[in-house]
């Protein structure tokens, strides 16, 4: 499936993923209801919403782990059947393997796609771990890590590949403000370098405004509201008053 470059040329719409009337439930009341959504190539979307509304479920749908009960999902104009190699997902549960050290976990996605040079791989991992502040911890097992260190390890696993779609479920929830800011920077850099589409869940309105070109608000009824983000990439003063006003506006929306 190394045809994405061609695909990108052929498919002139600029749309990476398209959800049409997607509904989903776990056998009870609907979690996702009649969602229509278009994710542009290279754009970033923050997904917000109250706890338990279905954000993780939506990510799982987009990743191909769950099948819509109704409606359809298309990626690069093709119906999505199962998972794709070009989608990277970071789970809310992290799902680190207890038998992998930080280094091994970060290396694994590269080992999955064959035929790459070994040295290059190792260098890339080491560089990424450096950027995530994990260098000293690279030989530790998950149970020897702090919560935030575990989260960063899962992040490394998500960011190391070359995906065209990056799905991240609360990637910075266990990180302190300072670490968080550098990680956010890293995520943005990575996304722009790869020209990947980023869809990430966050409960941090600031993060939503900083990283998302568009804000997707999932409400309790299972429908999605798309909100433009005027604050995105305002270089000089990242967090001015206008930013905080937008924050307060979004919070009101959330309620």
């Amino acid at each position: 499936m190394n045809e994405n470059v061609d695909q990108r040329l052929i498919d002139g719409s600029g749309i990476l993923a398209r959800l049409r009337n997607v509904s989903f439930d776990y056998g009870g009341k609907p979690v996702i209801k009649n969602v229509n959504l278009e994710l542009k190539k290279g754009s970033s979307y923050s997904l917000i919403g109250q706890s338990g509304t279905g954000k993780s479920t939506l990510l799982n749908l987009a990743a191909g782990f769950l099948r819509p009960k109704e409606g359809s999902i298309e990626i690069l104009s093709k119906p999505l059947k199962g998972t794709r190699k070009e989608t990277a997902i970071m789970f809310q549960e992290l799902a680190l393997f207890p038998w992998q050290t930080v280094y091994q976990a970060a290396l694994m996605p590269l080992k999955m796609s064959n035929g790459k040079d070994k040295n290059g791989m190792e260098e890339r991992v080491i560089k990424l771990l450096e950027e995530l502040g994990l260098t000293e911890l690279k030989d530790k097992y998950p149970h020897q890590l702090s919560g935030g260190e575990r989260q960063r390890t899962a992040l490394a696993r998500g960011l190391i590949g070359e995906p065209d779609l990056l799905l991240m479920d609360e990637p910075t929830s266990s990180l302190d403000t300072v670490t968080k800011e550098s990680i956010q920077e890293l995520i943005r850099k990575q996304q722009q370098k790869l020209q990947a589409t980023l869809l990430f869940v966050t409960h941090d309105i600031e993060e939503a405004l900083l990283l998302g070109e568009k804000i997707l608000l999932l409400n309790g009824e299972g429908s999605v509201l798309t909100i433009d983000n005027p604050c995105y990439l305002r270089k000089q003063q990242r967090k001015d008053l206008a930013f905080y006003e937008q924050c307060i506006y979004l919070k009101e929306l959330l309620m």
Binding site: E93, A95, H143, Q144
Partner: protein, 260 residues
């Protein structure tokens, strides 16, 4: 392995030697107690049995080695069959539905009942003996591995599915490491069963093997010789078990040391 880890394991190994000794001692203790309470010559005195050792010592080594070779082959082959089969049964609902009932059906049947069939098909030599032992332990391994693989969190499979991992990579990076503790657990159990089943396998057409040794001492009612054999078998067993423990500690470093 870093120097530190190596030192760590060297320390453990010393412990293990102590364990070996203690296993022997505690067995001797129980034996002495039994000897004193039962007071019947079917249970010889541990002391006299030790004095008897020089009479059989040399022969015993060869018997042990012969048995070890048979058990080693049987356990190895059973793992080669049982681990993939167990994984397959756990992974595929279809296969599970298809084969689990069969395994359930065949598992409780006394495998010795198949002895004639094995003799018929594979002769009286080592082949039929080893196959018999395999036949006895392989179903147990299959079930244990299947139950172990069932315990892998579903989300781990999702991680691998996300990479569109080939079945081989799934094995290498997820399934094998995840079931390693179960492999060890079932190795311990099947090693025990297979050593015990030498009693059947070395029951015919052989003059070597610890099973043969014990059995023939038994039919001759030479209980001192018999207990020398039992002691040797016990020692072989505990040696293999401690070896397994060490291997597990080296290969599953993430498990036992969980202090968090």
């Amino acid at each position: 392995m870093t120097e530190k880890i190596k030192r760590h394991y060297r320390g453990r190994r010393k412990n293990k030697a102590g364990e070996l000794l203690w296993g022997l001692l505690s067995f001797l203790l129980l034996w002495e107690i039994l000897y004193l309470t039962v007071k019947n010559h079917t249970i010889p005195s541990p002391y006299l049995t030790f004095l008897y050792f020089p009479n059989v010592g040399n022969r015993l080594i060869w018997h042990l080695l012969a048995s070890l070779a048979r058990v080693g082959t049987a356990v190895g082959v059973s793992l080669l069959i049982g681990v993939p089969a167990g994984i397959a049964l756990s992974a595929s609902k279809g296969l599970r539905k298809l084969f689990s009932p069969f395994v359930y059906f065949i598992y409780p049947i006394p495998k010795v009942a198949f002895l004639p069939v094995f003799m018929l098909l594979f002769g009286l030599g080592n082949l039929s003996k080893i196959l018999l032992v395999i036949w006895i332990i392989v179903f147990q391994i299959i079930l244990a591995i299947r139950d172990g693989a069932d315990q892998i969190p579903k989300i781990f499979y999702k991680v691998m599915a996300g990479y569109q991992a080939t079945p081989l990579k799934n094995l290498r990076y997820l399934i094998i490491p995840a079931i390693l503790p179960y492999i060890f657990s079932s190795l311990r159990i099947s090693l025990g069963i297979s050593l015990a089943s030498l009693f059947f396998a070395e029951n015919y057409a052989t003059k070597y093997g610890i099973g043969y040794f014990i059995l023939s001492a038994w039919t001759k009612m030479n209980y001192r010789e018999m207990f020398c054999g039992i002691l040797a078998l016990g020692l072989l067993g505990i040696f293999l078990f401690v070896l397994l423990d060490i291997m597990e500690e080296v290969l599953v470093p993430w498990s036992k040391e969980e202090t968090h």
